[in-house]
Amino acid sequence: MEVLREKVEEEEEAEREEAAERAEWARTEKMMRPVEVRKEETTLTQEMLRDLEKKLSEIQIPISAELPAFTKDTIDISKLPVSYKTNTPKEEHLLQVADNFSRQYSHLCPDRVHLFLHPLNECEVPKFVSTTLRPTLMPYPELYNWDSCAQFVSDFLTMVPLPDPLKPPSHLYSSTTVLNYQKGNCFDFSTLLCSMLIGSGYDAYCVNGYGSLDLCHMDLTREVCPLTVKPKETVQKEEKVLPKKYTIRPPRDLCSRFEQEQEVKKQQEIRAQEKKQLREEEERLMEAEKAKPDALHGLRVHSWVLVLSGKREVPENFFIDAFTGHSYSTQDERFLGIESLWNHKNYWINMQDCWNCCKDLIFDLGDPVRWEYMLLGTDKSQLSLTEEDDSGINDEDDVENLGKEDEDKSFDMPHSWVEQIEISPEAFETRCPNGKKVIQYKRAKLEKWAPYLNSNGLVSRLTTYEDLECTNILEIKEWYQNREDMLELKHINKTTDLKTDYFKPGHPQALRVHSYKSMQPEMDRVIEFYEMARVDGLIKREETARTMTEYYQGRPDFLSYRHANFRPRVKKLALSSAESNPRPIVKITEQFFRNPAKPAEEDVAERVFLLAEERIQLRYHCRDDHITASKREFLRRTEVDSKGNKIIMTPDMCISFEVEPMEHTKKLLYQYEAMMHLKREEKLSRHQVWESELEVLEILKLREEEEAAHTLTISIYDTKRNEKSKEYREAMERVMHEEHLRQVETQLDYLAPFLAQLPPGEKLTRWQAVRLKDECLSDFKQRLINKANLIQSRFEKETQELQKKQQWYQENQVTLTPEDEDLYLSYCSQAMFRIRILEQRLNRHKELAPLKYLALEEKLYKDPRLGELQKIFA
């Protein structure tokens, strides 16, 4: 029997490996081929080599991850509690009931496959599937909802295909073991997920059924990555404004209607043609993407989770595939049929026909025609309430069933044999096995890491490819967490080479988005800032090689936009850096919001400083009831008139157009003052532009530093990672320890060795006390002297050695290499240092020794045990 089982196991294992290999082969076949071809080539270019390396590494990772097989031999069952290894009488009874049920079932439905009722567990003990479910409410709030819970299970476990894809497994391990090894097949996945869902209050069931190939092999390569799917923009319904009573009539349209119609027709034709082409293209693509027909379609066994509506405000029944953690409608065509399902209380067999996948199934478990239950009267009555029409029929059936399964009448499901599911906080945070997981989607690859696993805070990376074979990278998105520089997402577009960094609020420079092609200054870049975080109200700064545009909001001077054009640098100063040699500015354009406190004709909307031409153009805001805006242009000319006086202001230096001509603006004084004001403003603006350039440099420098350092922040509540608090705690401990040591030392009994010589328990006589004291003191004296001698001897030894060395040096001084000389010199200095220290210590000892002696004597006098001594002296 034992031999047989082993043999079976071996076979199983072989099969399993084969299946795994087959799956792997199917996936990597396309990649392998070109590689193999290239291997044969004798002349490999550098690039090819790199390419090859890359591909090989890609190929090897999944294989190596699955190599250690998840078999019984590797499972350590010694630590498992006794309930795992034996069956209670009640469980035995249940197994009998199950067997009976199974017999009846196979008698009634001889053409259906055998029921999946009591597979063996890791200790080779048959256990009923319902008792393997252990409803547990996890202590993590993240696991309270089904979606995050399913995602966790899918992340936490590594998928192992079924040994035989056409049969349910022979073993079903407890969730304890599965969690321990972080591996499992679809039954393990769904058992764990179902336990957690029932624990958090869902009406969840494990399903044994049939799924498509992709589903059974957790093959997502034909799925679109959920992260790449753009959320559909909710099209806002344009409310058609009812024409009001006095809405003006539109002007008469004088266009020919016939011509318009013709035009529309032509347009439609063109569009139809385009659409057709597009559709053809799409069809072709679809064809290419379509899977090859599966020979075993409809026979592959799979297990997933069914969640029924009703509890936890679930509005509608749905499936969860535990492998991927995705939810599916019960109509989904990847789920091909259901054999049976169970929760922790009961077991139901599907009596409905699954010719049309699961689309026609009705999940009313109280209906005995559709669902044959195994145990009577657990929570069936509650379920039948879902459809009131059926209640009458159910009652009748109940009566029938009562007669049929009389023996089961009072029998309910025994308590689960599995221990409570436990996930340590570390494991919960690490999530994926080894904190890393790679998922291959259609034209996309998603990699996940646990937080703090990567030193730069990278937690996930999505690579999108152009083609199905995943060779041409389209774009890369990298998500970060816990970065000190608040970097959240890095987006690299490979086609345009544009990099975009997104930041969370809290960057020292209030960065929000930074998109660039290179980190060099004065290149194309866009920097966006958090709106309220900056004092100057800057929200966006765009740069190209020759221009810089800034957008502002909420400034007290109503500035909204500043645009500067530069000229290339003057050549001779090209050596100096950008900081000391700003590019000459050709033109600055500034725009302003409307300042409600000023009248429109005095409120500047736009001013242009043409620095090269010494010209300033102003455009004012347009008044509410006007269509033209005032304009003014100042020309600066410093000329001298015929008498040699400097011309301060002449009427032709200011050309203005005013919508409503005013008197005071005609005056030269007004114009002169306006011009002076503008000149000051011009200087300020130039300074501002220059400062902005400097700021960009600063930001770039800061970003580079941050990228290089990539420090991570650690919450002060994270006691495990927070080095500072750890150090502090350790220091505290150390201090405590030292304190303890000192206490011990003070309690050190200096009389103990001498008292030991005397018989214990007796009171000391005076003579004894004197002797004891003298002994103690002389001993101490001896120790002091010894110590002094020791220091002395060391000192002498050191001095002698030094002298010897010096002698040797003087003798061999000529022949020495520089290195030896260096060595000698360093030795000398060290030796001198040691000698000096020893000397100091000796002196100190000499000083302190008498004091110590006296102190001991004093102490001895005061010692209560030598009270005799004291008495006499007193």
Binding site: K244, K245, Y246, T247, I248, R249, P251, C622, D625, H626, I627, T628, I648, M649, F657, V659, H664, K667, L668, L669, Y672, E673, M676
Partner: protein
């Protein structure tokens, strides 16, 4: 110091003096040269300093319309006058003068800082108009009554006050009193009032202050009530049905009707009158409510109309702006092209093109405007028709209700006549039981007298009703015509303004082009 000034010759504030001052205090250096070239208009001056000039009388300041700051300290002014036109004044310094009463400041509503230091003022008064007053300096005067402080409570913005050197500042309670009565004050006599003093003062004068506050509150409430009533009445007036929501009209009918009042003492008349009044008031209330409803309808109609017109104009303006922006873009590029071009024939050709563009823009803008005018005209006519119809309907309905009133009156008149005649008969027969007042008995001399009396009363009543009706009809009709006129006039004004604007813009563009041409030829 004042005494010293007295001994010197007073000066007159004439044009020369003002010009000199303005010139001295005006812009300096380069700007000053320009200013000298052009001369400064008095109305452009914002600040003027006229101190130590022995001015006796403030005069000739009416031109300084925009003056913000005026310093007239250290003169010998005796009366505050001639400041009526300086409504923008924010700062006025009249310290070290010989002013005896505060006056002539009623138009200076923007004044924030007033200094009357070292004068001869004995009473704080006539400052009611200065609602924005923040700083008031009244030191070294002759204010001797503490109650002057209470007057200052009305200035909600007052933060700084100086009163030292007055007789009242000698009083021992001076500081506490001011702190208690002016709790918002921050500086008193150039010193900050600390919180502790404030608390002390408040505690000390709490009782009287509370009383004062209570009185002020009552006043406030009464004012508010009055205002609310006034507003309500205004609302009713705009609906043309004021005083119709009660027995006001009925009461006014009997107010001047001595005969009617006398007759009401007849037996049975008071009951009749009561019933009559009830019915009459019901009809009045009907009219009132109908009037309010109609007013609401008219308002909605008017609002929709103005909204639609506004939208139309806005849209048209947007189109115009868009056209101009397009044009300007093109124009700018072609101008720069002209400047770069060196061949004279080419330049001429391009200038011609430009002017063609300008005239095209003119045509476009004018077309837009004409289109809008047509559209608006149609809408306005429609609105006019509707509003006239509404008013007509309203008048008709009110008239029918008023006719009901008249019917009631007629009915009442007949009844009254009946009673009167029967009473007369009884008196003639001598079997009247009740006592009648003497003046009433005087009417019952013969049939004609009594009939005349009753008739006179009836006539008065009818007259009142007619008057009310006429008033309503005339007012609503005049409102209607005025409204329609205003709409037409506004539209015409708008049109003219727009046409003027377009012309101005086009002229500017054209002249710019001409200048270019001219300068080119010169070159």
């Amino acid at each position: 110091m004042n005494r010293l000034c007295d001994s010197m010759e007073p000066k007159v504030m004439d044009d020369d003096m003002l010009k000199l001052a303005v010139g001295e205090q005006g812009p300096q250096e380069e700007a000053g040269q320009l200013a000298k070239q052009e001369g400064i208009l008095f109305k452009d001056v914002l600040s003027l300093q006229l101190d130590f000039r022995n001015i006796l009388r403030i005069d000739n300041l009416w031109q300084f319309e925009n003056l913000r700051k005026l310093q007239l300290d250290n003169n010998i002014i005796e009366k505050i006058e001639g400041l009526e036109n300086l409504t923008h004044l924010v700062w006025l310094d009249l310290s070290f003068n010989n002013i005896e009463t505060i006056e002539g400041l009623d138009t200076l509503v923007n004044l924030e800082d007033l200094s009357l230091f070292n004068n001869r003022i004995s009473k704080i008064d006539s400052l009611d108009a200065l609602v924005k007053l923040q700083v008031l300096s009244l030191g070294n005067n002759q204010i001797d009554n503490m109650m002057n402080i209470v007057y200052l409570r009305r200035f909600k913005c007052l933060r700084t006050l100086s009163l030292s050197g007055n007789p009242i500042s000698e009083a021992e309670d001076y500081k506490m009193f001011i702190c208690a009565y002016l709790p918002d004050l921050v500086y008193l006599d150039f010193r900050r009032i600390d919180d502790h003093t404030k608390e002390l003062a408040e505690a000390k004068h709490q009782y009287s202050i509370d009383e004062l506050k209570h009185r002020e509150n009552l006043m406030q409430v009464r004012l508010q009530d009055e205002r609310a009533q006034q507003e309500e009445l205004e609302k009713h007036k705009t609906a043309f049905v004021e005083h119709l929501n009660g027995s006001f009209l009925f009461d006014s009918m009997y107010a001047e009707d001595s005969e009617g009042n006398k007759l009401s003492y007849l037996p049975g008349v008071s009951e009749l009158l009561e019933a009559y009044k009830d019915k009459f008031v019901i009809i009045c209330v009907n009219i009132f409510e109908y009037g309010l409803k109609q007013q609401e309808k008219r308002k909605i109609e008017l609002d929709t109309f103005s909204e639609c017109v506004h939208e139309a104009i806005q849209e048209n303006q947007e189109q115009g702006k868009c056209k101009i922006a397009q044009f300007e873009e093109k124009h700018l590029s072609s101008l720069s092209a002209i400047q770069e071009e060196s061949e004279l024939p080419n330049i001429e050709k391009m200038i011609l093109e430009c002017s063609a563009d300008v005239s095209e823009l003119f045509n476009k803008l004018m077309m837009l405007e004409m289109q809008l005018v047509e559209q608006l005209e149609e809408t306005i006519n429609m609105f006019e028709r509707n509003i006239v119809d509404m008013v007509g309907l309203f008048i008709e309905n009110v008239q029918s209700l008023m006719a009901q009133c008249r019917d009631l009156e007629n009915h009442h008149h007949e009844k009254l006549l009946e009673i009167s005649i029967s009473t007369l008969e009884k008196i003639v027969k001598g079997d009247l039981d009740e006592d009648l007042p003497d003046d009433l008995r005087a009417l019952f001399v013969d049939k004609d007298t009594i009939v005349n009396a009753v008739g006179a009363s009836h006539d008065i009543h009818l007259l009142k009703i007619d008057n009310r009706e006429d008033e309503l009809v005339t007012r609503i009709n005049s409102w209607c015509t005025r409204l329609v006129d205003k709409i037409h006039k506004d539209e015409i004004m708008r049109n003219r303004k727009r046409v003027k604007e377009i012309n101005q813009y086009i002229d500017h563009m054209q002249s710019e082009l001409d200048n270019l041409e001219y300068s080119d030829i010169l070159d």
